[in-house]
Subunit: 404 residues, 2 copies
């Protein structure tokens, strides 16, 4: 790891826009490397927590310590971009959502960059870390910044460096995992590389922001397609009365990485990135170019139908009217151990069964009875249900069969 | 590695049916472990070569030595099953082809097992190694053996153990790579495990022949789908003017294994196995269960159309009438360094361009001018062509541009 120079330390002041699961660990880590960090976030309570050294994302390993050490000191959180006007580096990690047609909704991103544009000064560096459709940085972001600042690219620097965190392990990821940087022009790339070197040890400069954007998306596409393949093979194995997990165990080796089957793919990332490429290709009339990714997306999304059918068929074993069978979906958070419901396919499964008129309950270790009921769901302890579907293990069991 | 017992050595005599790329290295390895092996093959010349210690597959590393040491001695090759009638273990690795509708053509397999059935004795063990559709061993193979031998399963043992060779490296694969064994019944599995232990060090017993068959197929499906994904991403990158190989280099890490793009998938294995599952599911009316694999298959097969179009567009640079441009397809063998044309997609590409009326030539380091011309193709040295398409590198180049 190349250590920051005294020189940098004295002049660099870094703003991190967006203090969520990706932004906050990065902001903490930069502060931990001796830099003054201004964090900007729309959530007033979160800013207050951070400034009093309290970690708003407790499941993020190592973040407690970073915030305890730097919150309200080296790392100051604020809702006002004006507080960041003395910064010379702006790193943006705000969410990019998609609308109901799977098109990206750039409003949050645009707002962040236009706000930065208003305080942007000559020689400042702006880096986007949010995963975005290809060419967002060189086209939209550049335009937003130029329009608001009155500066032209070349007077400021613009680069892209995808966050590659894994929720729960973001701090160690930043310290260990290879990170990519690509500039909108050559100077921007070199500039971003020089800055990030101060707090990211495993850093690689690629030839452009566009390549860096693409790298992040195709990682997600690899995952999505391979989860779809696992789901397809799982269904085939079930039809052939083969124990899928046994087959998977022995099929996987150095050259074979069959993923785990699931109820689909949840969260902000993997189910969204393929759409960025699919929609871009569709815009260009190249529908044939994204057939596989589209098939994978559909297949993963339709896994809730597959599981709903299997759960209904499992009700046959219970000596009750179908709509009286107490069905418990165990585990609705997005991944085991991560308290996040965005795009939860297990939640979608519960709602689908409810829509079919079944008597559906939910249990999740990370959610209280209250937290479940405020979402319009019924809470139950697994032992009181007739059928328990363990949404992470993909296993059925009445409580008694499972032996308590 | 558990060493064979003296006891086994004295009583075990093993027949290997099919002395091709998979069978011959196995037969050699068994002989090298001190067992008497009878190899059965339909190719008289090949049998003669083997018995005189000559290696008919020179590119197979380590096979020269095995045949020099054991050919005609511990390993005796023959066309007659009668010569194997004193064997008590029969291992079958004959090819299974598919017809033009992608259905398996079992004739060679059936013939082999019916021939074994005629000489099968009580307590003999039969093992299939050819990759087959699920349940082939427990249904078809069992039936063929029982019909011809008059014995019932239980009086003989039947198992499945997929070959997992990689052409060119089969001998070392057998010595190092995990090998799977699964029995049609419990006794058969244990029996096969005990036998294979004598010459395969890294051996695992799975719960059934069916699971073992499935394991081999899903490895191939993983490869096929991931090659299709690489091809799809390659096309997208090209559309977006992104250097795919740069993106791939940085996208790949511990959790991401994006494959290499290509002109499709050739050979006997990967392009065939998905069809075994697709056809089986179609027979069961479960078409929706194989959508992803089917999309992948189509995508890979259609890569020749994609490349044909790009090659035609590359001809624009040449100041000649389109049908006079000398196009050289460089590399038509199935994989670099393996002299095998079965299912070669690069050959398919050459033929497709010829059909379009273009002036197509072929060059391949492993094939002489004669070997190319007897296939109805025109031979050229790359330096004499106007456009060279390197089918392994997926790169274009007029000879002059490439600097000779």
């Amino acid at each position: 790891m190349r250590k920051r120079s005294r020189n940098h330390e004295s002049i660099m002041k870094i703003a991190v826009i967006g203090l969520g699961r990706a932004g906050l660990p990065l902001a903490g880590l930069i502060a931990d490397n001796g830099f003054k960090v201004i964090g900007v976030d729309v959530d007033e309570r979160r800013c207050g927590d951070i400034n009093s050294g309290k970690n708003p994302i407790p499941e993020e390993r190592g973040l407690d310590k970073l915030l305890e050490d730097h919150g309200g000191k080296n790392l100051f959180a604020t809702m006002n971009y004006e507080d960041a006007e003395e910064c010379n580096v702006y790193i943006v990690i705000v969410p990019l959502f998609t609308d109901k047609n799977k098109n990206p909704d750039f409003r949050i991103l645009e707002d962040a960059f236009r706000s930065i544009g208003k305080i942007l000064k000559k020689c400042d560096l702006v880096v986007l870390e949010t995963s975005v459709p290809p060419m967002t940085t060189e086209l939209s972001v550049r335009e937003w910044l130029e329009e608001e600042s009155g500066l032209k690219l070349g007077e400021f620097y613009l680069a892209y460096s995808p966050e590659r965190i894994m929720t729960g392990y973001s701090v160690s990821r930043l310290k260990e995992f290879p990170k990519i940087v690509g500039g909108v022009d050559k100077e921007s790339g070199l500039n971003a590389l020089e800055v990030y070197r101060n707090f990211v040890p495993n850093l690689h400069l690629v030839s452009s922001a566009r390549v860096a954007e693409f790298i992040k998306l195709i990682e997600g596409c690899y995952r999505d397609v391979n989860i779809a393949l696992a789901n397809e093979l799982f269904k085939i194995a079930n039809e052939l009365e083969i124990e899928f997990y046994e087959a998977r165990e022995y099929a996987n080796h150095e050259y074979c990485h069959i993923h785990l089957p699931s109820t689909g793919v949840g969260g902000h990332c993997i189910p969204v990135y393929p759409w960025f490429l699919i929609k871009e290709m569709e815009k260009r009339g190249k529908i044939g170019c994204v057939r596989l990714m589209r098939a994978a997306r559909e297949l993963n999304d339709e896994m809730v139908d597959y599981w709903a059918e299997r759960i209904v068929m499992d009700c046959v074993k219970i000596d009750k009217r179908l709509n009286e069978v107490k069905i418990c979906i165990k585990g609705i958070t997005f991944r085991e151990g991560v308290k996040e419901l965005y795009n939860s396919r297990n939640l979608a499964l519960a709602r689908l069964l409810m829509k079919k008129g079944l008597n559906v309950y939910v249990y999740d270790e990370l959610l209280s009875k209250d937290e479940i009921e405020t979402r319009g769901l019924k809470w139950i302890e697994a032992k009181d249900a007739d059928i328990v579907f363990d949404a992470f293990e993909l296993k059925f069991g009445g409580w008694n069969e499972r032996g308590g």
